[in-house]
């Protein structure tokens, strides 16, 4: 028999390793959070230190992260976790502040969507002292280093945050190239950071800020994105790196125009993937993808466990009737229906029981 040395002896005998061995099998943070949720040894969390509601449907939060936070690059996103009616919900938000902010705090602007569980919760309930879960920043929608000589930033609606972060970061860096900021909103009053954008443009001669209103008159421009807007805002756009974030309509318009102009290579985009809409159909449609095994099958309408087995996979399972939770796996995207309750699940990256879930349209499973 081989002798396995307990991990606490294999690792360098740090004080933390000893404390973790004493707390086993629970994590030290599971004890500390009961005293103070901001006191953590491994988990990243953040406390809301300021709440501003600058427009009717947005709320801007300032967060003080725990010491594990490693900072972010302008344009990246973080995952924020809150408990809404007992259920932990996670959403991605791009910090809107400069990456060089001296106090290391994170600014998030959240727009309350009519059906957005988390955004509505934060809009209605966020107050100073609220502690939320946080992940380290991720994403490749970032400014290149060294900075390019000309930068065009385009955004629409709540897509303003990553590009606003880029603009504020460039201003903090004393960037001396041309930078234009073109933002689309229904009306000027819907722009959460309007006053600050105007102030930045006034302070920095190289910065142009243009607000385009799509719904009403007012703003510097009106209507939707097109060649005319592009020429008016940044006549030098052909030599610039362009960063775009916004709703699907804007993204498509920008992509199409840049492809036509042969400049798709200088376009950088951040997609907000909208949650799939739950559609109840009798006929099975869509493709069922098992990401880790690289297998995809046409949805036959049977349970995902049965379809996985039919595809030659052997997922772990037990009772096949929804009671033992042996077959729980992460659904990465798509809509599934629980055959026991008839409920549909649309949220990405959540666990489902394969033996009682059927796909509704395209579904991807981490299997």
């Amino acid at each position: 028999m081989t002798t396995v040395v307990p991990a606490v002896f294999r690792r360098r005998l740090s004080p933390l390793a000893v404390v973790e061995a004493l707390a086993t099998p629970h994590a030290v943070d599971r004890y500390l959070e009961l005293v103070n949720p901001m006191l953590t040894v491994r988990d990243v969390r953040a406390e809301v230190t300021e709440v501003r509601r600058s427009t009717a449907d947005t709320v801007t939060l300032t967060l003080r992260p725990t010491r594990q936070w490693r900072g972010f690059e302008a344009g990246q996103f973080v995952q924020v976790t809150v408990d809404v009616d007992g259920v932990r919900r996670t959403r991605c938000y791009s910090p809107a502040g400069s990456q060089h902010r001296a106090d290391g705090r994170i600014e998030l602007t959240v727009k309350a969507h009519a059906r957005g569980l988390v955004s509505r919760y934060l809009h209605a309930n966020a107050s100073t002292g609220l502690v939320v879960g946080l992940t380290q920043a991720a994403g490749t929608f970032c400014l290149p280093d060294p900075r390019p000589p000309r930068i065009l930033l385009v955004s629409g609606g709540s897509g303003i945050t990553p590009v606003l972060s880029m603009l504020r970061t460039l201003c903090d860096e004393g960037y001396d190239g041309d930078v234009a900021f073109l933002h689309y909103a229904d009306t000027e009053d819907d722009v959460a950071h309007r006053d600050e954008l105007r102030a930045l443009a006034a302070e920095h001669s190289a910065v142009t800020v243009v607000l385009a209103c799509t719904g009403h008159d007012g703003g510097d421009l009106s209507g939707y994105f097109g060649q005319e807007h592009l020429d008016a805002v940044a006549p030098w756009h052909a030599d610039a790196e362009t960063f775009v974030c916004g709703p699907p309509g804007l993204m498509t318009a920008v992509r199409d125009l840049y492809t036509r102009n042969g400049r798709a290579g200088r376009l950088h985009v951040e997609d907000f993937a909208p949650a799939p809409v739950a559609v109840e159909t009798a006929a099975a449609t869509g493709a069922l993808t098992f990401e880790r095994s690289g297998t995809a099958v046409d949805n036959t309408g049977t349970t995902i466990l049965e379809q996985a087995e039919a595809a030659g996979l052997q997922p772990e399972h037990g009772c096949r009737m929804g009671i033992c939770f042996s077959c729980t796996q992460v659904k990465m995207s798509g809509c599934t229906r629980n055959v026991r309750t008839g409920e549909t699940h649309t949220e990405p990256d959540t666990e489902i029981q394969l033996c009682i879930s059927v796909p509704v349209g395209d579904v991807a499973i981490d299997l």
Partner: protein, 372 residues
């Protein structure tokens, strides 16, 4: 007692139980989260207070208080928190700290093996002879239907040892030692299980029998005995509660033949007839992990346990409506009945059951019911 039910009645009963479950599922929310976190705060609080008191274990009242607090902490951790979390009762909260696939409990059995032997094998094949290895745990003769052989003369001794060493027995359960002895399984097949067990148990032993005693310096032996006592108290308690779940007299067992192609309704009927409740106060139910509501737990293993007392009156009413037994009694009665059986079944002829033979259900096919 034999209850006659038609297939249609069994299906109806299934739908009524499904409806109870759905109503609770629809109502899950912040109150359930607050409840389990309240239990966790108590458990962690008792654990920290208990371990702290033991640093002053040379004062007998503090040694006793510390040992009691640590025992309660381990009981809460294993029963109301661990067992229930690992059933997926709180998976809907999407809290990684309370997720069935990630949770580990304060005992030597690895959570993953427990989920296999308990959630899958025991809860799916409850009380089916030859399939549910929880019937006697491969060590005891606990049902009349188990054939006697001379080995079972030691039944009370095995039961006593299992009670005292319960956490180790639970850990060894997945090895299926009885099948290895019977030659149906090889020792080599258990290699990865043993690896996991070594990994988990070594950490538990290191914590309770080396690190905490060493930290208390001159109180090394005092802390060591306190920790061993706490583990023993938890063993006695868990054994007693768990044995009262399926082994008191009047609980039915089933054969593989009669449960073939079982409908969902019939599965529910088996769970109700194969389980027994323990009556008691609120604190007792919490300390038992609400396994005192074994019948409700077996019907709805993935509902948060605090909901079992809420649905129990409805389940009981359904049993009355369909003429099914609802086995419930005080801890002393249920435990007495279990130990009585352990002694009686040690002997080949001791199969006479003073409480009568276990109840059975006769399923009447719909066409015969219609003709009658």
């Amino acid at each position: 007692m034999t209850t006659r039910l038609t297939e249609k009645q069994i299906d109806e009963l299934g739908l009524e139980l499904d409806a109870i479950r759905q109503r609770v599922v629809d109502d899950l929310g912040a109150a359930d989260r607050d409840y389990i976190y309240k239990v966790i705060r108590w458990q962690r609080g008792l654990e920290v207070a208990g371990r702290a008191s033991l640093f002053l274990g040379f004062l007998p009242p503090l040694w006793l208080a510390g040992t009691a607090a640590l025992s309660l902490s381990k009981i809460l951790d294993n029963m109301e928190i661990g067992h229930n979390v690992m059933h997926g009762q709180y998976d809907w909260m999407r809290d990684p700290g309370l997720n069935s696939t990630m949770f580990e409990w304060d005992t030597v059995c690895p959570a993953e093996q427990w989920r296999h032997s308990h959630n899958y094998m025991h809860h799916t094949y409850t009380n089916i002879l030859g399939k549910d290895r929880d019937i006697g745990y491969g060590v005891l003769r606990i049902e009349e239907a188990q054939r006697w052989n001379p080995y079972y003369l030691g039944n009370p001794v095995y039961a006593f040892l299992l009670m005292v060493l319960f956490e180790w027995g639970v850990m060894a359960h997945d090895l299926e030692l009885e099948n290895i002895i019977a030659g149906e399984r090889t020792w080599a097949e258990t290699r990865s299980l043993r690896g996991q067990q070594w990994h988990k148990a070594s950490r538990q032993v290191l914590k309770d029998y080396l690190l905490f005693p060493a930290l208390s310096g001159p109180m090394f032996l005092s802390t060591l005995t306190a920790n061993a006592t706490a583990n023993l108290v938890r063993n006695l308690w868990a054994f007693s509660i768990i044995f009262c779940g399926h082994f008191p007299t009047g609980v039915a067992t089933f054969t593989e033949e009669e449960t073939e192609n079982e409908s969902r309704g019939a599965w529910y009927v088996r769970q109700m007839m194969g389980s027994a409740n323990i009556t008691g106060g609120k604190l007792f139910h919490i300390l038992s992990g609400n396994l005192s509501h074994q019948i409700e737990h077996h019907l709805f293993p993935d509902l948060p346990a605090r909901r079992y007392p809420q649905v129990a009156p409805e389940v009981r009413a359904l049993c009355e409506k369909y003429g099914l037994p609802y086995n419930a009694g005080r801890l002393s009665k249920q435990l007495g009945s279990v130990w009585g059986k352990i002694f009686r079944l040690a002997l080949p002829f001791g199969t006479r059951d003073e409480a009568g033979t276990p109840p059975t259900v006769a399923v009447v096919p719909d066409e015969i019911a219609a003709a009658a």
